[in-house]
């Protein structure tokens, strides 16, 4: 096999078959997928959760992960944010002609690793190859199915006045790690993306509390956007304390340099939980025991005032409104 993806790899003919059997299947092998039927068949019962997401990150390899890991963790996390236990994923790749096959293999390796860690199987897949310039290297779409344990009712609309707002760790790591590698912005730092599957953290949290009302992963748009979404969806207000929001020194420094606010920078391995105040400390202790929740903190609470708005008490004392992100994050000019 040549060392680059050719249009013929997407033709449906011999080269396509060879690509699937030799380069993709070995990483994903499981009984449902190995049959190579037109659809995968699986058993499931109870309430199911279903989600889909497209991944188009640039660059596709970044400190702490790559597009493959992101595509698995992102969908696993979307299922987890409704309290579902993720079971099966599908994975569809759009590959630009000329993409290096060894890079594809590296990405498949990290897909395998992430799926193993999360305990999910990829049971359906597809590849397409498009002309050079019609896609940027590699686009991946994953969909996922999970089962919701009995008694779990988690939704962005469930926050109530008095609830506590918990955050699982430092914010902005993913966005800054990716940005540090971008064309023209390259600056060296040891920071890695926080990209991680959060399903096990969530199931540990659900073990100690049945009063978790909302879960959400603050990805694009960052923590500020997620809190606003939850406040609007639940028709409540929120008050958060800036001093309690954990931010790594590297992220702070990079944000100062670039003129960005960590509140709006993307995360890929963090969650926001809104829970009954009675259980909040118990949940926090449990979060801190998990490797993805060590820096967890209670950052604020839900209120019936200023409905749909998030108010932040700043480090200096005064309060201000924290709005959703608008437009794209662009580094400052001067």
């Amino acid at each position: 096999m040549d060392d680059r993806i050719l249009l013929a790899h997407g033709s449906g003919g011999k080269l396509s078959h060879e690509l699937v059997v030799k380069k993709l299947l070995p990483f994903l092998a499981n009984p449902a997928l190995n049959k190579l039927d037109d659809s995968a068949i699986f058993e499931a019962s109870g309430r199911l959760a279903f989600t889909t997401d497209g991944y188009v990150v640039n660059p596709i390899f970044f400190p702490g992960g790559d597009i493959g890991k992101l595509a698995v963790c992102g969908t696993v996390n979307d299922l987890s944010m409704n309290g579902a236990k993720p079971l099966y994923l599908s994975l569809s790749a759009i590959i630009e002609e000329g993409f290096l096959i060894n890079e594809l293999e590296q990405i498949m390796q990290s897909i395998k690793k992430a799926a193993e860690e999360a305990g999910v199987s990829i049971i359906a897949g597809d590849t397409k190859v498009v002309n050079r310039g019609q896609a940027d290297k590699l686009f991946i779409t994953t969909s996922g199915v999970g089962v919701i344990p009995t008694g779990v009712d988690i939704s962005g609309a469930n926050a109530r006045a008095g609830d506590k707002v918990l955050l699982s760790g430092t914010i902005g790591d993913h966005g800054i790690a990716v940005m540090s590698q971008r064309e023209g912005l390259r600056f060296s730092m040891t920071l890695e993306s926080d990209c991680a599957p959060l399903n096990k953290l969530v199931s540990k949290m659900l073990e100690v509390s049945s009063r978790i009302h909302c879960l959400r992963d603050p990805t694009r748009g960052g923590l500020a956007t997620t809190l606003n979404e939850l406040a609007q969806q639940s028709k409540v207000g929120m008050v958060v304390n800036e001093a309690r929001i954990p931010v790594k020194e590297d992220v702070k420094a990079a944000c100062e340099l670039l003129g960005l606010d960590p509140l709006y920078v993307a995360n890929e391995g963090k969650l926001v939980a809104i829970a009954d105040p009675v259980d909040a400390d118990k949940i926090l202790t449990q979060m801190k025991k998990n490797c993805y929740g060590i820096d967890a903190a209670i950052i604020g609470e839900v209120t019936d005032e200023h409905c749909g708005k998030v108010v932040m008490k700043t480090k200096l004392g005064p309060s201000r409104i924290v709005d959703m992100i608008s437009g794209e994050l662009l580094p400052r000019i001067c």
Partner: protein, 340 residues
């Protein structure tokens, strides 16, 4: 008045940390002409857009510029219509784009103050050294002390003190502001961008203002970790070598003598103004937009009838809402609880 606008600028930090609520009501903060995108005149934007439509031209620019509406279009719209407009993070990237596209003319829209001017000068020197023949600068760079003078001369607003820009002062030092306390009796303090820097700066300004009757207004540096009185000599030499001082057209302020940077004759082959000619219709400003007044500090964003109603970051009418460094965008983003 704080000169430096949003995104880690002074206006941004003042609103982000709630400093307006911390200082006594007798201290009123006004945002000045310190957002590089906002102060760019509509006529100059129109020129950039017209250049983008020329055949075989690639326009390179800092991000926010592409969204700012000119009289009839924007760089963003030109791009959607097929013009090749690219966002770069540094001027050197623009030189590199020229080097890999030798059959195209690559024009960098040179906006900003004394902070971006040295890097733009460095890009011209790099293009010269690498014999890059297809790289051009549309020089719209502006200087801060002359526009402060223009605002003070107009007498439109009664300023007691100026929060001098931190990053600009890293380059130019404190000497260029000395005419302000001397000739106008207005206190000047150069500030950093951390919340405590700004509080310290306001404290020093108030202290000077209270003693102004004693006749001792001066330029103080409250940002000594960044600013030396003499500035950054190397950066200043670079600017001096490449640019000469000329007039510049500021949105809201008009043409201010001695406030712009023009490319010197010895580098004129990099000057987009000399290399290309475009015909332009007379500029027109968006109806009802008070960006001009806001840039001069003569109005606060909330005094504009369009603010938050018609004009939002999602559908901005004027540049102060478009640019994340603009005063309207900062006031929009950092609404206080009292304003709810």
């Amino acid at each position: 008045m704080e000169f430096c606008g949003g995104h880690s600028g002074h206006t941004h930090a003042i609103l982000r940390y709630g400093i307006r609520q911390l200082v006594p009501k007798t201290v009123e903060m006004r945002s000045g002409p310190g957002c590089p995108v906002c102060v760019t005149a509509t006529a100059d934007l129109d020129k950039a857009i017209a250049l983008a439509h020329l055949p075989d031209v690639i326009i390179t620019t800092f991000g926010d510029m592409i969204r700012v509406p000119g009289s009839y279009s924007s760089l963003q719209k030109a791009k959607a219509e097929g013009a090749d407009v690219r966002i770069v993070y540094s001027t050197i990237d623009a030189v590199e784009i020229a080097q890999v596209n030798p059959e195209k003319s690559v024009i960098f829209i040179g906006i900003g103050f004394e902070t971006t001017a040295p890097t733009i000068a460095a890009s011209i020197l790099k293009a010269q050294q690498d014999k890059t023949e297809n790289f051009y600068i549309l020089s719209l760079n502006k200087l801060t002390p002359p526009v402060m003078k223009a605002l003070l001369d107009s007498g439109e607003i009664k300023l007691n003190g100026i929060v001098c820009p931190g990053h600009v002062s890293v380059i130019i030092g404190s000497h260029p502001y000395e005419f302000i306390p001397r000739d106008y009796g207005v206190a000047c303090v150069i500030s950093g961008f951390e919340p405590l820097d700004i509080l310290l700066c306001i404290d020093k300004l108030v202290e000077q203002i209270e003693q102004i009757e004693k006749g001792d207004p001066r330029v103080e540096i409250a940002y000594p970790r960044g600013v030396k009185p003499e500035g950054n000599r190397k950066a200043l030499q670079l600017m001096e070598d490449v640019f000469e001082i000329g007039e510049a057209n500021w949105r809201g302020v008009g043409v201010v003598p001695q406030s712009g940077l023009e490319i010197r004759g010895k580098y004129e082959r990099f000057d987009a103004d000399k290399a290309f000619s475009v015909s332009l219709k007379p500029p027109r400003e968006p109806e009802g937009c008070r960006c001009g007044d806001i840039i001069r500090g003569a109005a606060m964003p909330i005094e504009c009838k369009l603010f938050r109603k018609v004009c939002t970051p999602e559908s901005p009418v004027g540049p102060c809402m478009v640019s994340s460094e603009g005063a309207c965008a900062a006031y929009y983003q950092y609404e206080t609880v009292e304003e709810l």
